[in-house]
Amino acid sequence: MNLHEYQAKELLKTYGMPVPPGIAASTPDEADKAAATLGGTAWVVKAQVHAGGRGRAGGVKIVKSSKAAGEAAASMLGTRLVTAQTGALGIEVKRVYVEQACEVAKEIYLAALVDRSIGRVAFLASSEGGEDIEEAAAAAPDKIHKLVIDPKTGLNDTDAKALAADLGLSGETADAVATAMAAVYKAFLENDASLIEINPLAVTEAGDLFALDVKMIVDDNAIYRHPEFEKLWDEAEVSAEEIEAHRHELNYVPMDGNIGVMVTGAGLALAILDMLKDQGGEAANFMDVRPVATREQVAAGIKMLLANAKVKAILVVTIGGGVLRCDTIAEGIAIACKEAGNHVPMIVRAAGTGKELAELALNNQGVQVTYATDLAEAAQLAIIAAGGT
């Protein structure tokens, strides 16, 4: 799960990472008061949405008075922020973060993440921090420095200082960076992070460090060890259907097409999206059902597709294995159609364990479906049913 900037900063502060004073606000009035409470002469008002690229999209404003802070908040709150990472619909801004502005001499990029290819935690750092880090990195990959951590020995202070030196830092600033890295590493391990990205990590004229923006992702699979994060699950930010999907353990992402898709298995689901696209169709969503799904969870997923006015046809692709059975999927479809109607054409491609029982279940419940025998036919039938290419 993603933490908001203000949540991540609050957490990192407890590990000793210097962050500017700041207060979250849900109304313009609160933002105004927050600036006044914080004191100082300049503040940054930042939309708290789970997406990068806020600066360019108008989600970050520098203000010189508390009134202006309130006005900046008013311009953001309730609007949908569209950044390069949000998709066309953008994300509604429910909360802003008001923070004391600080003078910045240098912007560093510092991130800790799990390096998949070697299975270890690694630090990435660049002396060229800021909003354009991705482009900068693509243009000059040699400017990205990497430090891989051996889990047996942990982060070594010498290595951390060497990385700081690579960034062109020295003296107390380099020491401060090494200290910050230690804090980040500790926070990373103790909170089951899969990413802590500080960008920029500001160096002031005085040589002091401040984490100006923090993105932090916590491993969903480890949330059970951190019940405190469950509370931070920011339902307000995601759509009602995403909340519904999450509640039913469905892996769901809305898309722009007209074919509602439910697939058992993420890889197969991706393959179906590719096949639809190749044949000129467009999925309305990505929806992956876990092997341990119940028929009620499946029903919830199908009902979401049936409730989506964009969806002109539904494609269900399932391969029964040793755990998931096709008839569980079929029962879910039947429940959903009974409750929400069977008003869009339904294409089903069932194979493997429980295939025959699945067909019996749908037949017995009077659910009208068209069967496809293979993936290609399934995609084709769904596209035709949705109105053709």
Partner: protein, 292 residues
């Protein structure tokens, strides 16, 4: 005779007494898999599915000399189970557990260093050599003994490849699910090496997906490999939803990771035959092996 497992492979199951483990172990036994014991802390000395239960992998290893361990435990104990199996020097460890925390896997990966254990998974559907041995959660149908090795990050796409190679009468030598998790045991490369050295395998289907660099690494390996066996590759996710990305995907991009087009290009350049779609893996391999 396929890779990793054969008719003599002696298998223990960590977590044998669980409901899913019981059902699938029973089916594995009926399939011919030589199960020799189970490990369930606190239940040592008992018996389940006519197999002796041990408290620890070390005891099970001492008493039954297993060649492989199948791990069917909840995520919370999966890493400990894997490490226990590695420390007991079980040659092959197959973890089917889903949702293992990634930092746990960092520890497991570290335990693997310098060990002789081969780890498959976590989040693997397992390994099967049709009609000979099956360890994991895959269905028996429609596997058929045959000529094609399959290695996949996705279980369901793997089943699809099995179905297709059976339909075109190629069958499978061995099918391996390496799991779709970020940090995992055996890689595409490890499996390709084994498949290339295996007499029964005439060609390999490699199934990747968006994310990570495993496909690129496999491509680099292929480029330098001397094997002439055809490798048919399919990588899912070229039209994957970009989702609302935060830092992670962005950071991934820093490394050029996760880009399916790049993966496909790398594999294509390395000599793999790219299946036009997930529906064409079997027919593509059929043609590559000289059939129509």
């Amino acid at each position: 005779m396929g890779i990793l497992i054969d008719g003599d492979t002696k298998v223990i199951c960590q977590g044998l007494t669980g409901a899913t483990a019981t059902r699938l172990s029973e089916r594995a036994i009926a399939y011919g898999t030589k199960m020799v014991g189970g490990v369930v802390p606190g239940k040592g000395g008992q018996s389940h599915l006519h197999l002796p239960i041990f408290n620890t992998v070390a005891e099970a290893a001492k008493e039954t000399q297993p060649d492989a361990s199948a791990i069917f435990v909840p995520p919370v104990t999966a890493a400990a189970a894997m490490i226990e199996a590695i420390e007991a020097e079980i040659p092959l460890v197959i973890c089917v557990t889903e949702r293992v925390p990634v930092l746990d896997m960092v520890r497991v990966k570290s335990a693997l260093e310098g060990s002789s254990t081969r780890l498959i998974g976590p989040n693997s559907q397992g390994v099967i050599t049709p009609d000979v041995c099956k360890i994991g959660v895959m269905p028996e149908r429609p596997h058929t003994p045959g000529r094609v090795g399959i290695v996949s990050r996705s279980a369901t796409l793997n089943y699809e490849a099995v179905d297709q190679t059976t339909t075109v009468h190629l069958g499978q030598s061995t099918s391996v699910g390496i799991g779709g998790d970020p940090v995992y045991g055996m890689s595409f490369i490890d499996c390709l090496e084994l498949f290339f050295a295996d007499d029964a395998t005439e060609g390999v289907i490699l199934i990747g997906e968006i994310g990570g660099t495993a496909e690129e690494e496999a491509a680099a390996f292929l480029k330098s490999a001397s094997s002439t066996k055809p490798v048919v590759a399919y990588v899912a996710g070229i039209n994957a939803p970009t989702d609302r990305r935060m830092g992670h995907a962005g950071t991934v991009d820093v490394f050029g990771e996760g880009n399916v087009t790049a993966k496909i290009e790398a594999l294509d350049t390395a000599g793999a035959i790219i299946a036009p779609s997930a529906a064409d893996m079997g027919t593509t391999m059929r043609k590559a092996l000289g059939g129509r």
